[in-house]
Amino acid sequence: MPIYLDHAATTPLRREALEAMLPWLTDGFGNPSSVHSFGRRARAGLDEAHERVARSLGATPREIVFTSGGTEANNLAIKGAAWAGKGRGHRIITSSVEHHSVGHTVRYLEKFWFEIVELPVDRYGRVDPDEVDAAITPKTILVSIMMANNEVGTIQPIQAISERVRRHKGVLFHADAVQAAPYLELDVAALGVDMLSIAAHKFEGPKGVGALYVRHGTNVLAQQQGGAQERYRRAGTENVAGAVGLAVALELSAAERPVTAPRLRALRETLAVHLRTLEGVQETGHPTERLPGLLSVVAAGLDGNAVTMALDLAGLASSTGSACLSGSNEISHVLAAMGFPEDEAAGALRLSIGRINTAEEIAEAARLIAATIGSHREAAERLEAQRASALSGPAEAVAAAEATGE
């Protein structure tokens, strides 16, 4: 069985969540909008899911909108707030290290004459709360900043940011907490957010379900039209089983957090200690303000895609930073924003440890990563030497040198 160190991409569904979901995939199949007993039963299950998620977030049940996942929650928050606030203003403030479900959504809105401000980050990927403050104008309607970064694990000073946003009346604050959810406390009142996105599959819940917290009284325009589901904020027959699975997984992850977080932090530190000994390997993200189980590095001069591919063949699942299968060699916008030059950012490697990982797996992973980076470094140096010697020759000569290693 290969070792799975890609929990930032997704996590396995935990048994408790699965078992809580099963009744809703079998006997409890009713449509929550139906008037009969089957409908009422499903409706009760959905209501309970709302209540449990609300409790976990320090919110009220009607402030929770179930969605198809984190991407939809972010889309609903941003587009919903943008279109609802269009009468007051058109300026939206975000950061340069957001997930594409935020970054690409604001770029979409830009086509419709919204003004988008992407705030820079420091070399650890942190936004300066004072810059948020300074960027807000009377035309600003929304600030959207992620709670923790999915590629490098840096945690943003959300409370300090929300404090600044609060100084400006009428500006909404949305936080994408998809990556933060299992590891950080999500008390919406303490965080001071108007909207907060989560996705179940990041905390051992099912895929295809997420939730958006929308503070009572916040005006958000629905992004899909149809029935009256989720108090008109999200039309479409509800995914009752998914909502229940999300609720259970969220509760458990919160309850276990005091045990899980330090354990993951220790495993991560073990792995980091090993990787620090490797030449040319540099940790990325904030040294302390970071997710406990996420270790991200850049190996200068190496191709991160090639390293993850070789690791996969060796039995270790890892990532370059975000799940991408199309073979694009675009470098990470997150690392670019943090100031990493292209040749360093190309060597990105992300290892995200989860609750299922054992100390033995981490030791084995450290060994595999060291061996792979070592052999790739060797191959890269040999290639560089050949390129230099065949520089004046035709492309065939370079290629032949590459293929033969001579």
């Binding site: 063949l313 065939e396 290629a399 032949a400 293929a403 033969t404 290693g405």
Partner: protein, 370 residues
């Protein structure tokens, strides 16, 4: 278990190649090479891309075969080694051989290097119809490159640039098979690509019009220039010399009794010269950048050798004497005339099924205009 990287294009041939590598007891690893920019960056307006569909087909087959699958980005290598020389050729009035470059520079160059030195693979396998012969104890030293068994599909012409070290790490699982047999295997295995049509066009030229790529990448513009007839008279105008290839009949916009063909192209003077069918027949031409497959190629000082020469894919072979001129340049004299030996095209030397080597047809010295 030997690990073999299989270059999967999303077509039926490379799908079956992957299946056969696995059936042979080797550990097959499928890769789809991303060779040019495709629509995966953020844009509301880019259409879905046919080449990504090909990657999806390859991925589907890999999962059917239960082998690992990755997309490898070789855009830079492809651009430098294949696309730029392709454009250079047209702009220089020559006919490009991109498949030859792609094999020697990309598939059995950059890809093979990565396979061996990054992914611990013993070899690269492709769906080419060609054969590799292991060094025989008695026979000639080194690996041999042979025509594929199916004469309809033989692709050895595009592979002459492979040297010994490359052949030592090359697998052509379809070499002994015919296309119908390959389809049968694909059907029997229920592969998603079993009924997929063969591709006909140059894979990186959208809608088959390379002039679009010339415009886009090199700022080429169609500028009218003179069309010169056999007798040296200007008899019309053409639409840019780079739009033509030697041997082409249509598109010269000129009608003069006996059929005319593009005979010579002078890109610098933006002039094309037409000839009658008989004018394009020749027994003598030169070949440059000649390479030989064997580890002991014939020395350039010798008198030369007899060989069968092939000047286009699936073209007929011509018995010929091949004589070295030095610096990788060889003179070919065929026993019977060959037709439309286009500068830039590959000329490949064979002994029966064995590929001896080959090179690119050189431009003849005589002037194009009058």
């Amino acid at each position: 278990m030997t690990r073999v990287l299989v270059a999967m294009s999303g077509g039926v041939d490379s799908s079956v190649a992957a299946a056969l590598v696995k059936a042979n007891g080797d550990e097959a690893v499928g890769v789809w090479m991303r060779l040019s920019e495709v629509a995966d960056s953020y844009s509301e307006f880019k259409r879905s891309c046919c080449s990504l569909d090909a990657a999806e087909d390859a991925r589907r087959v890999a999962s059917q075969l239960d082998i690992p699958f990755f997309v490898l980005n070789l855009e830079r290598e492809f651009d430098q080694g294949v696309l730029q020389p392709f454009l250079d050729a047209y702009l220089g009035g020559r006919t490009p051989s991109p498949c030859v470059d792609c094999n020697s520079v990309v598939k059995f160059g950059a890809l093979l290097g990565r396979a061996r030195f990054l992914y611990d693979c013993e070899a690269v396998a492709t769906g080419h119809y060609a054969r590799v012969a292991a060094p025989a104890e008695a026979g000639p030293a080194g690996y041999g490159l042979l025509r594929g068994r199916d004469p309809q599909k033989d692709q050895s012409y595009f592979l002459y640039g492979l040297g010994q070290e490359q052949l030592a790490h090359t697998r052509f699982p379809l070499g002994e098979m015919t296309k119908p047999q390959v389809r049968d295997v694909a059907r029997a295995l229920g592969l998603a690509t079993a009924e997929k049509r063969d591709s006909q066009e140059i894979c990186f030229v959208p809608r088959g019009d390379y002039r679009e790529v010339l415009r886009e990448r090199r700022g080429w513009k169609a500028e009218p220039g003179p069309v010169i007839d056999v007798d040296g008279r200007q008899i019309g105008e053409h639409y840019g010399a780079a739009s033509y290839t030697v041997g082409q009949r249509q598109g010269t916009g000129v009608a003069v009794g006996e059929p005319r063909y593009v005979w010579k192209i002078d890109a610098d003077a933006n002039t094309i010269r037409l000839g009658r069918r008989s004018d394009l027949a020749t027994r003598d031409f030169q070949v440059e950048d000649v390479r030989f497959v064997a580890c002991d190629p014939p020395p350039e000082s010798e008198d030369g050798l007899r060989a069968e020469v092939q000047i286009r894919h699936r073209g007929r072979v011509a018995e010929a004497s091949v004589r070295p001129l030095g610096s990788g340049r060889w003179a070919v004299r065929t026993d019977e005339p060959v037709w439309a030996a286009a500068p830039g095209q590959a000329a490949v030397f064979y002994h029966g099924d064995f590929v001896l080597g080959g090179g690119r047809i050189a431009r003849s010295e005589d002037p194009v205009a009058g």
